[in-house]
């Protein structure tokens, strides 16, 4: 079945929906999503969205910019960061106007709270910058944007999985997709495609990410020739519920929660004397694991305690409602009376499809655009987060760059027509799927998936070393070989979940390889990338973005792209 649209947006999380709204009623927009829109992983964001509104304390966008640059360990592109921090207040006010139910100050303004790495006066003291709606900020923004799209009659294709991008003479001309309910192949001929497909936390065994976070957009763009940038930078959030990885928001520490080791010591005071428990996530995650390695994990195990017992009923009842429930349901812990056992959990991809601040997917170190192809949100690397993202900058990133992509795409579609695309695309994709379904595979999906997740967790997570990275690369490549022999047992065409699982696994294996390659290449420690064999940051050799491009019949090609430094020269990063 063939469709024609001005724009196809892939992904119905915050970036995709914000872009769809920006594209406006005069544009023919289709939003494709492999899950129903309100099931998107943006909805799991808890703590808030960063913007220097100054509603609670003096603040300005330049302090926000400084914090973001420093948080990124100086790898973020400062031109893009300046745009994001300047746009932030406007973005938040727009959300409020659309109806987002932010918590309020006594004067009825948007309330703000402290968060990791947010400071005033260029690092002098913690500042309240996170705008929030209890601890369900992502969920209510997602609902509001989706409902705005309903009001605008945006066309949704729910439970459609993108299969491939259509590229003709170097331009993106649409995509092919698989309809889960029927097994039908759909060809979308469009002037532009925006990828807003989110992250890939499911590459790792312990993660806060949803089952749908399998990096499909990144992997499909990569196979279509778009380079992936800085994929070795993977954020491990310090406070996942022990064993489960379910997120306990940084807002818990923003509201006054503290981390304790087995000796009852508030150990972050030792590592970050100024902002203590509100140090950035990469640091806190490392500190937790250092405590564990020093034998100060709780009961000798690999977790520490997050203590909220002193916060009082009002804070807990109005600002941390959901996480108290999570701790109770899954951890069996009443967080009002006892500490929550926590350990780092894979949370966020700083890297992604190389893109600029207007959403253009770029092909090389000169930022040459990939015509017709755009990316925004977690699947893109603009790069505003560099080597480590600050809390509350991801919701901001999705909305600022979702909106800017929308504006830019509108210009593009007015200057360009639809391409003439080959008429055998549907048959080609159907043949690929038939091949997957009909071959007698000797390998099963489950074991390959689990081995990948275990290897990545053990060898490519918080601490890394050449030896274990080499091992991981070998293991991932062996799994890619085994993947060729995978069989699909479900032969049906109605809601064939197994077929989707297989496609997702292929995507994740590609990404796992790129992450490991980047981590091996970067012989330094910066932000979330911590090499035990190279413990120092090395600006001489590695103040540059890692780019990896897919090559047919050859190993992926690795090259670098300079960092854009406009204002803050790299310095030692202390908190």
């Amino acid at each position: 079945m063939e469709h024609q649209y001005d724009v196809v947006v892939v992904g119905a999380g915050l970036s995709g929906l914000r872009a769809a709204i920006e594209l406006g009623e005069g544009t023919r927009v289709a939003v494709l999503s492999k899950v129903f829109a309100t099931r998107s992983h943006s909805g799991a964001a808890q703590g808030g969205i960063g913007a220097a509104l100054g509603n609670e304390e003096e603040d300005n966008w330049e302090w926000h910019m400084f914090d973001t640059v420093k948080g990124s360990d100086y790898l973020g592109d400062q031109d893009a960061i300046a745009i994001m921090c300047q746009d932030a207040p406007k973005i938040v006010y727009e959300l409020e106007h659309m109806g987002v139910p932010f918590n309020r100050t006594p004067e009825g303004k948007i309330a703000q709270r402290a968060f990791g790495g947010h400071t005033s006066n260029f690092g002098k003291a913690a500042v309240k910058r996170a705008c929030y709606a209890a601890d369900r900020t992502g969920r209510v923004i997602l609902d509001t944007l989706w409902e705005k799209c309903l009001q605008r009659h945006v066309q949704f294709f729910d439970e459609f999985q993108m299969l491939s991008l259509i590229v003709k003479d170097g331009r993106c001309c649409g995509l092919t997709a698989y309809e889960l309910a029927t097994g039908k192949i759909h060809v979308f001929n469009s002037k532009a495609v925006l990828l807003a497909t989110g992250g890939a936390g499911k590459v790792f065994k312990t993660t806060s990410n949803a089952m749908a976070s399998t990096g499909d957009g990144m992997a499909i763009a990569y196979r279509a020739g778009a380079p992936l940038e800085d994929m070795e930078f993977i954020q491990f959030h310090p406070t996942g519920i022990y064993k489960l990885g379910i997120l306990i928001s940084e807002a818990a520490r923003g509201e006054g929660g503290i981390l304790l080791n087995s000796e009852g010591e508030r150990f972050m005071e030792r590592y970050a004397p100024t902002i203590k428990d509100l140090a950035p996530r990469d640091m806190v995650s490392r500190c937790i694991l250092k405590e564990v390695r020093a034998g100060r994990g709780i009961g000798g195990k690999d977790y520490v305690h997050l203590d909220l017992t002193h916060l009082g009923a009002e804070v807990i009842g109005q600002k941390l409602v959901e996480i108290i429930e999570f701790a109770k349901t899954y951890g069996g812990v009443d967080a009002r009376k006892e500490p929550i056992p926590v350990q780092p959990t894979c949370h966020y991809m700083m890297g992604g499809i190389a893109a600029d601040a207007d959403g253009h997917v770029v092909l090389d170190d000169k930022n040459t655009p990939f015509p017709g192809l755009y990316a925004a949100g977690e699947c893109a690397c603009v790069s505003v987060h560099g080597a480590n993202r600050l809390g509350c900058n991801s919701l901001l990133d999705t909305l600022v760059f979702g909106r800017r992509s929308g504006i830019e795409i509108r210009k593009f579609i007015h200057a360009h027509g639809l391409c003439t695309i080959p008429d055998d695309l549907e048959d080609l994709e159907a043949a690929k799927i038939r091949y997957l379904m009909e071959k007698d595979g000797t390998e099963k999906l489950g074991p390959i998936l689990q081995e990948m997740q275990t290897v990545m967790m053990n060898n490519v997570s918080v601490f890394r070393h050449k030896e274990t990275l080499d091992e991981a690369l070998q293991a991932i490549r062996a799994l890619k070989e085994r993947f060729h022999d995978i069989g699909v047992h479900d032969k049906g065409s109605c809601f064939n979940r197994e077929l989707l699982d297989v496609m997702e696994l292929r995507h994740m294996l590609d990404l796992a390889e790129v992450m490991t390659l980047g981590a091996l290449h970067r012989e330094e420690s910066r932000g979330a990338h911590s090499r035990e064999d190279f413990p120092e940051r090395d600006d001489q050799r590695f103040l540059a973005h890692t780019m990896v491009r897919y090559e047919e019949q050859a190993e992926p090609l690795l090259f670098t792209k300079p960092v854009n430094i406009t204002r803050f020269e790299p310095k030692e990063r202390k908190y």
Partner: protein, 236 residues
């Protein structure tokens, strides 16, 4: 320890009637029901399908019937059930089954759209935020917990009896906008619900409140809509 799962199966391509299939797996008492389903799918039977994503009760994908009660598979743990590790899993009632535990939610979202689930404000847009007091905000707080999982609507006896009834989830969304101090369409919203397909369809049977996985007092919120309608009539 061992557990037995008897699961509702239906594939429209091959089954004339739904059937139940039994699976035996090892479980821990702290496993989520969703973990068990995942294990069955990955280790025993990849053809079994259900919706799920966030796995911690915020995306709203995996409402289903577990041992006769509607719940989220990712929010219910093995230890929550006193049934000697015997589980019967069925799709949400009220909706048509697409396959196995996957149901057609279109009618549910159709009703959601009907209540105009977006802020209507004809007063022009200020430069900064609209002012709203913490007390005004608190009124709508219960409704903000809703994750659109459809547990309430699929459990509601009135919804089962009258397909035209909006149902608790859509009414809760209406409540959220009726009581948002920034919304200026309150009168029209109340008028839209002043009938038996709307607020008066609710016969206060509390099933919605009982099953809500987010602890929302749904029935009370619908009651507040009814009172607001009466108040509006009095004022006219």
């Amino acid at each position: 320890m061992k557990a037995t799962f008897v699961i509702f199966r239906f594939d429209p391509a091959v089954d004339k009637q739904p059937r139940y299939q039994e699976y035996a797996i090892d479980v821990e008492s702290t496993d989520k029901i969703l973990d068990c389903l995942n294990r069955i799918r990955w280790e025993l039977d990849p053809t079994l399908v259900y919706r799920a994503s966030c796995s911690h009760g915020i995306c709203g994908s995996d409402a289903m019937v577990i041992n006769g009660h509607v719940g989220l598979a990712c929010q219910k743990l093995v230890r929550d059930y006193k049934t000697a590790n015997n589980f019967v899993i069925e799709p949400l009632p009220l909706f048509n089954v697409i396959k196995d535990l996957v149901v057609d939610m279109d009618p549910f979202f159709e009703k959601h759209r009907y209540v105009r689930p977006y802020l209507i404000n004809d007063e022009g847009v200020p430069e900064k935020e609209r002012i709203q007091s913490a007390e005004e905000q608190k009124v709508i707080e219960p409704a903000l917990r809703c994750i659109l999982c459809a547990s309430c609507t699929s459990s509601c006896p009135i919804s089962r009896a009258n397909p035209n009834y909006l149902g608790p989830a859509a009414l809760l969304r209406a409540f959220r906008y009726i009581n948002d101090s920034r919304d200026t369409a309150t009168g029209g919203r109340l008028a839209q619900l002043d009938n038996n397909e709307g607020a008066w369809g609710c016969k206060t049977m509390w099933w919605c409140t009982d099953v809500c996985p987010k602890g929302i007092p749904v029935t009370k919120c619908i009651g507040q809509i009814k009172r607001a309608i009466k108040q509006q009539e009095k004022n006219e």
